[in-house]
Amino acid sequence: MRLIKQLGEWFDARLQIGATLRETAEHPVPRETASWFYVFGSAAVVVFILQIFSGIMLALIYVPSAGEAWNSLQTLNHEVTLGWFARAVHGWGSEFMVAIVLLHMVQVFWFGAYKYPRELTWVVGVFLLVMTLGMAFTGQVLRFDQDAYWGLGIGASISSRVPIIGPPIVNLMLGGPIIAGATLSRFFALHVFVLPGLLIAFVGLHLLMVIKLGINEWPMPGRIVRKATYVKEYHELTNKDGIPFVPSAVWKDLFFAAFILLAIGACAAYFGPFGPGGEPNPTIIQTAPKPDFFFLWIYAVLSLLPPSMETPALLVGPVVGIVLLLLLPFVSSEGEKSWQRRPVAVLLILLLAVAFGTFTRRAEHAPWSPVMDAWSGKPIPPQFLRNRTALERQGALVFQAKQCHNCHALGNEGGERGPALDNVAVSMTRDQLIRQVIQGGGNMPAYGKNLSPAETTALVTFLQTLRPPGQRPARDAARDAANGPAGALSSPVR
């Protein structure tokens, strides 16, 4: 023990940082901030450190070459001892990191911690969020499988829509004319050198400001932030009723960080690594690429926006979002911090959380995507075929053979791109069905050129049987009047 002390003194006599470190560690913080709500920032740093270490471990085997990357991932998964675990830790670490950074941001917003004098801390935090998402996206690219390949294609297609300089941006992003070796190399450089370097620098700056400006006090209704008096009031608070950060507050940070690390390890061990999916071979087109979890909501938004709004929303939306985040602390730098007096802020958090959850859930289900194999892989449920005439069954065959099932569900089987047709005969008359099939419209292709008159007749006759038992098909009242009572009886109730 004495030896350690002597060694410590020897080093400190030369380094001269012991006093500064002690002062920083023991600086007083407001008593209430020793709270489980104040642990997300430190946990994000700990997960970031885990990502650096696990990333270096993967780099020992991973080959950042378009021709070899996928194979090296397979080697990691199946041949290198516990290579799968290293990949799983890095993959799950990235999911947890994005989640914790988002939670941290929500907590800071909820507690009004971005207000004077911590505006710049928030601004740096916004950049840290963007970089964290950048790491998540570039990391997904390094998992160089089909999803990564076509995900890059989607990124290129979005970038190309920038007016005038779109196509050069695509070349710059891909490093050439197509997604290939140069593309992977530059995403590797971004993921391994550029973004981590920036992250380390910005995390350092962020922490420095947190230490210099002090941890945000627990918001109390009626405790108003005023630029003229805030700093004085904060120091009074910490000097009068503060506790040293180490050890009084830090133990909760340590405990939570350890819990998160344990959770990452458990997820990695239980669920294993992410992919890689199919090999990145562009000639294999039997693929339905999907982004990783934290980008699923974008996938949903892209599908649900009307086409005319897509390009503006894609190009302007992110810019507006980031600018709003950056402006926030300057627009509302004074005033109440307590969520009890900031109903709009609380509602905004709820709204964004519900929107994120809804879009993510929709994207996991992806009802806008046709089920590409429904026509061959999902037969029409028997209740729609029982007691049907030969012509009606012929129509059911047309329904399968012409891929109608890819977009239209019957008995909850099949695509959801178009409406389910279980009861279509109740809402559309025979003439309307014929018109819809032949001319299309309402986001359905026209089948006029690809159906013979006989096929159309059979198909529509089948469609007219799709209604609840005992219910008549829809009929055209005007035609009934013209044809007399007999017209109404021409389609008997079955």
Binding site: S65, A66, G67, Y149, W150, G153, I154, A156, S157, S160, R161, V162, G166, P167, P168, V170, N171, L172, L174, G175, G176, P177, I178, I179, A180, G181, T183, E279, P280, N281, P282, T283, I285, Q286, T287, A288, P289, L302, S303, L305, P307, E310, W368, S369, P370, M372, W375, K402, Q403, C404, N406, C407, G440, N443, M444, P445, A446, Y447, K449, N450
Partner: protein, 167 residues
């Protein structure tokens, strides 16, 4: 002091110019049209008249370490005689690979549900235009196409140097 800063600034600019040109080389290279070239896609016999078939080719502009990413697919529609249409597989919405369904005569995209007719024109879904088309020619019993760059919706015609979609 001022002289020192000025000197550093000049040296930085001298170094920066070639390095920026290096960074921009994927763009400047494409400007010269170097990415696009004519090559034979295959014998005409591979593409029976009246059918649409998937064809693959090695991208003319490729590096040794590109591996299988240097292989590109396209859809060849042989209408009749010397009339063809060659479509890029990339959906005009966001670039996902479209699949051909001969029974219904439609191309469908698995990502966001874009659908195209057999002639490549837009049928339904989010795409704002038809499929991207490559230039083609028939020579010596082979089908030649001009390609080399992944088409994206931002290109004026979809294909660099290609014809506008309605021409």
């Amino acid at each position: 002091m001022k002289l020192g800063i000025l000197f550093n600034g000049i040296v930085a600019a001298i170094l920066a110019i070639p390095l920026v040109r290096y960074i921009l080389s994927p763009v400047s290279h494409g400007r010269k049209g170097a990415y696009q070239s004519w090559f034979a896609l295959g014998d005409l016999a591979q593409f029976p008249a009246g059918q649409t078939r998937l064809a693959t080719y090695k991208n003319p502009y490729v590096n040794l370490w590109d591996g299988m990413t240097g292989d590109v697919a396209c859809w060849v529609r042989h209408i009749e005689g010397a009339n063809f249409q060659v479509f890029a597989v990339n959906c005009a919405h966001l670039g996902c690979p479209v699949r051909w369904f001969p029974q219904s005569g439609l191309f469908m995209c698995p990502c966001h549900g874009g659908v195209y007719y057999q002639d490549g024109s837009r049928a339904s879904g989010p795409p704002e235009r038809g499929l991207f088309e490559h230039h083609y020619k028939v020579e010596n019993g082979k089908l030649w196409i001009k390609a080399g760059e992944m088409p994206t919706p931002g290109m004026v015609s979809g294909i660099p140097g290609g014809k506008p979609p309605c021409a």
